[in-house]
């Protein structure tokens, strides 16, 4: 046996086959993309091109460029009144993905229990297991709008649980929480003394109320590792730059691992992030305005077609139910792909609680969304309704 047992055990994406199908087909309208359809704002690109011309191509300090950490510290203070020292409480990572990996490896001993929502973003469970943790999936369901509540938390939290992963606004459901709702959740976290890993990468894409970082709530900063980045709000997915903020002990442990495995986040990404924070407010607002319109459009259209779809509070995903077609998620996605050449992601890719749902990304032009929803309607009329 050449491969480690842990990796062997890791669930391969059960829909790898479906993904290969999509990539192999021509002229597919893909609503299955997890990144913005906008290109990184030009001021960011131009600024980094200039830096490259000047020869900024080397390693940075492990923690990340001081200028960037400083800018993030200032940004969080101004936007959320969230104070993190750029020296001791922050680490620049290669995307939030690396931050997730680092924090899990930094805090989990073999067998430590960690709560992960179901459905949720694909990495949390496997990376927790890779780190030696024992994952307890917190089942949420459509009838609760896939929201975590204190009741659901209490069902799973106990004194033997070490940590919990939160992601809001959430991929794939688009769910987010008001300050009031987070306050209620925080009481459970505090009661059970949990470390909270909070992935808030979609924070800027919250449409109906202001986003509240959970670390700003009473009793939470000392137990929260706040993760954020630049991929979604600034369309910088390929630049691979994110950050983690948290208690000194945890950030220091994360930095220890990071310095050996990654050394530092790419300098280009970091330079781009500095410019993003400096001069991109209008670009972000414009993107957000566009996403919001698409959100209204697609939720309205899907419900019109007959696919029950709640209005998500954030991200650029909707998570409609396909239960009234009688088909399973993978079956629906495959058939839709073959018959109408529209790609969506089966809800089961995000956990077993995603069965009966599909994730549609509206990070696509209005033209694509109009065409895709027409094809979905056609498919539904000919194959769907029970």
């Amino acid at each position: 046996m050449k491969i480690s047992k842990v990796v062997e055990k890791m669930k391969p994406s059960g829909i790898r086959e479906f993904f290969d199908l999509v990539i192999g087909m021509k002229d597919v309208i893909s609503l299955g993309v997890g990144e913005p359809d906008f290109v990184t704002p030009w001021n960011i690109c131009e600024s980094v091109i200039f830096s490259l011309e000047k020869g900024y191509t080397s390693y940075t300090s492990n923690k990340g460029l001081y200028e960037l950490r400083s800018a993030i510290s200032k940004y969080l203070k101004n936007k959320y009144s969230l104070l993190y020292s750029s020296d001791d409480n922050m680490l620049i990572t290669t995307g939030v993905s690396e931050a997730v990996d680092l924090v899990l490896r930094a805090i989990l001993n073999r067998g430590d229990k960690i709560l992960v929502p179901d459905p949720s973003y694909v990495s949390y469970e496997p990376v927790s297991e890779l780190a030696g943790g024992r994952v307890i999936l917190m089942k949420t369901s459509g009838k609760d709008n896939f929201k975590l509540t204190p009741e659901i938390l209490t069902r799973y939290a106990s004194s033997c649980v070490k940590a919990v992963v939160l992601n809001y606004p959430a991929n794939p459901t688009g769910v987010s929480y008001t300050r009031k709702e987070l306050l209620a959740l925080s009481k459970v976290f505090i009661e059970h003394d949990l470390i909270v890993i909070s992935d808030e990468i979609y924070d800027e894409l919250t449409y109906d109320f202001s986003h509240t970082p959970i670390a700003t709530l009473p009793g939470m900063k000392q137990r929260t590792v706040y993760l954020n980045g630049f991929s979604k709000a600034y369309a910088m997915t390929g630049w691979r730059v994110g950050y983690a903020c948290g208690p000194e002990e945890i950030i220091s442990a994360m930095t220890k691992i990071h310095q050996y495995t990654m050394l530092c986040a790419p300098i280009m990404g970091q330079l781009g992030a500095i410019e993003a924070l400096r001069g991109s407010v209008n670009s972000v607002l414009e993107m957000k305005r566009e996403y919001k319109r698409r959100r209204e459009f697609i939720v309205s259209k899907l419900n019109e077609i007959g696919l029950e779809c709640r209005m998500p509070e954030g991200t650029f995903y909707v998570f409609p139910s396909i239960k009234n077609t009688g088909m399973g998620s993978v079956d629906f996605a495959k058939k839709l792909l073959h018959k109408e050449k529209v790609a969506v992601v089966p809800g089961t890719a995000f956990g077993s609680q995603g069965e009966g749902y599909i994730r549609i990304a509206y990070a696509s032009s209005m033209d694509n969304l109009k065409e895709a929803t027409e094809r979905i309607e056609h498919f539904f009329k000919n194959n769907g309704r029970l």
Binding site: F19, V22, I23, V28, S30, G32, V33, G34, E35, D37, V39, Y121, V122, S123, N171, R293, R294, E296, F297, S300, K301, A343, V345, A349, M366, D367, K370
Partner: protein, 161 residues
């Protein structure tokens, strides 16, 4: 309802029904807003932006930027003379500017000869036009916010988490 204008400016094909969905308003409200803007002249017309440079068989028209120095007229300022000039169909754009000259025109013709004739026979001869300087446009890169080049936008992999 200024958002309606924003949406139509991006894509004039957007129907009132689609706009209504995007803005979470009723179709009636959207249709009325559009009618009002049309009546008031806020919406002047619906247009398609075409890049003729990509039409290989087409005879390319010639465009020139023309700086015009005028003597403004008593009681009329610049408006009167600007109108006399822009009513020529060859004048595609007309702007009043601050600085070293007064009016900036974009003039279009079949060829250099036609544009030159227009300037010397029609434009320069107008009362109150003191002088003109003609710059022929060699290449248009971007016009009114539209980049005139097919930009390959979608490099994303077809499906990702």
């Amino acid at each position: 309802m200024k958002e309606v204008l924003e949406i139509l400016e991006k894509d004039a094909r957007t129907t009132p029904e689609e706009i209504a969905k995007m803005l979470k308003k009723s179709v009636g409200v959207v249709k009325n807003a559009i009618k009002k803007y049309e009546k008031e002249g806020v919406i002047i017309k619906y247009k398609t932006v075409i890049n003729r440079d990509l039409l290989k068989d087409d005879v390319q028209k010639v465009r020139a930027l023309i700086e015009v120095r005028v003597a403004p007229q008593r009681g009329h300022g610049f408006d009167h003379i600007a109108e006399r000039i822009y009513r020529f169909p060859e004048v595609v754009s007309c702007y009043l500017l601050s600085g070293s000259y007064d009016l900036l025109l974009v003039v279009e013709g079949r060829d250099i000869q036609e544009v030159s004739s227009f300037v010397s026979e029609r434009l320069a001869t107008i009362d109150n036009v003191n002088s003109t300087v003609t710059h022929f446009i060699l290449k248009r890169y971007k016009a009114d916010g539209d980049i005139l080049k097919r930009i390959e936008r979608n490099h994303r992999i077809a499906i990702s988490f």
